[in-house]
Amino acid sequence: MQDLGEAFRLALSLVLSGDADLVEIVSLSLRVSLTATGAACLIGLPLGALVAITRFRGRNAVLILVNALMGLPPVVVGLIVYLHLSRAGPLGFLGLLYTPTAMIIAQTILITPIIMALSRQVLEDLHAEYAEQFRSLVLSRRQQVAALIWDARFSLLTVGLAGFGRAVAEVGAVMIVGGNIDHLTRVMTTAIALETSRGDLALALGLGLVLMVIALGVNAMVQSLRMTAVRHAYA
C-alpha cells in the first residue's frame, strides 16, 4: 500500500514541476479525445435526432443495435481501424497508422454510438413536447432536427461529456492504432500502461491521478459554462 502514498507524492510533484513530457502527453490526450468528441457529436447528434423524430420499419432494430454498440470494446475498434489503416489494408495509402489522426478516428468510432443513443433518448423526450407545434408550423425534418438540438443543447452537453469520458479513459484502441510512440502518439492511458509494464506502479498510479484531475477539470468547466449559459438564456 506504500505505492498509494508514493503515487500521490509523484502526481503532485509531476504537476507542480510542470514536467515537459507530462504536458506534452496531457495535451495530446486532450487534443485527441476532444477532437474525437467533436467529430462524434457532428455525426451522432443529427443521427440521434433523426431517429428520435422519425418512425420507420426496423426502427426498434436500429435502437437495439446502437444501444449495443455503446458497449463496443475499445480493443476491437482498435483492431478494425488498424486493419483498415495498415499499409496492407484498404486505406493504407493514406499513411495514417501511428499518427494522432488514427487515434482520433478510432475514438470517434468508439463514442459515436454513445452520443447517438443518449441524444436520441434526450431528443425523443423533447420531441414529445414539441410534436404538435412542429406539425402546426409544418417544419421540414432538417428544421425539426436543428430546433431540437438547439433547444436541448444544455442536456446534450452531458451527452458529449459521457462520450469524452469514454474516449479519454480508453487505452485499447489508441494503443493499437497509435503505437504509444514517445513524443508522437503517447497519451495518458498508454503512458499509464507503459509504466505499469515497467513495474513502476507508483508512477503509473500518479499519472492515473493526473488523468482523473483533468477529467474533473473538463467536467467542471463544461458545468460552469452550462450554468452561465442557462442563466443568460432564462434571464
Binding site: T35, R87, G92, Y98, T101, L184, G199, L201
Partner: protein, 273 residues
Amino acid sequence: MASRIRLGVTAAIALALGVASVAAQDQSIIVQSTTSTANSGLYDDLLPIFTDETGIQVNVVAVGTGQAIKNARNCDGDVLLVHAKPAEETFIADGMGVERFDLMYNDFVIVGPLEDPAGVRGMTDAQGGLEKIAGAGAMFASRGDDSGTHKKEMSLWGDTDVDPASGSGEWYRETGSGMGATLNAAVGMDAYAMTDRATWISFGNKDDFEILVEGDEDLFNQYGIILVNPEQCENVNVEAGQSFVDWMLSDTGQAAISAYEVEGQKLFFPNAK
C-alpha cells in the same frame, strides 16, 4: 443553422489535417520492436544520440516479437528489431526483410519468490529447473503471447518431459500479455517466471523476487535487426531505415549499446560482426 454545421465540419477537418501535418516528419522511421529494448530504457538512451547525428526521428512501436513481425509483414514499419532468430529467418526467407544482422545479446533468467517452493535456487540448468518447478506443482507464469521470450520458453519445455499445457489454468498460468505485465502477475501470484535479464534489472516491482536460475547456454538471447524489404513494402524509408541499421551495427552504435547500464549493470552486449 446549416451554415453553422458546415462551419463545424470545416473546423473539424482543418483540425484533423493540422494534427496530421504535425505528425508528418521529413525524415522519420518506424521501428517495430520487442518490448525489452523499450521497457529497459535502452532506446531512451540510444535514440537521441542517433537523431542528433543524423536528424532522423525514430518512432518506436514496442510490442511483443510475434506482433512486431506481424506488423512488419503488413508493411507498418521500416525496421524490425526483435529476438527470435528462427522467426526472423522465416521473415527473410519470405522476402519480407532485406537482411538479418546480429545486433546484441543478453540472456534469459528464471525468477521466483524468495521462499523458492520448488527449490531451484542456484541451478544452472534451465530444463532441469523447469522440470523441478512442474514436478513440485509450483506456480509458473508464462507470457503465452507468441513473443520472443514465449517462443524461447516453449522450446525449453519442448526438451523436457513436461507438457505445460496440461497444467494450464492450474499451476501453469499463461498471462497472454507483455513481459512487465507477466512479471507483475508472477509477483502477485508468487509464481516463477522466465524473463530477459534487461527487463528484470530495470523492473520496478520486484517485491521479494530474485533470479534463481541463470547461466545455462540455452538461455542465450540474441537480438537481430532487419530492414523491411522495400520491394515488398514501397512505403519503406530505405535511406533513413538503412542508416539506422548501419548506425546500430557501427562502432559508435555498438559502443553506445555497451555503455548503457541500469543500477551499474550492463543490460545488452553488442555482438555485430
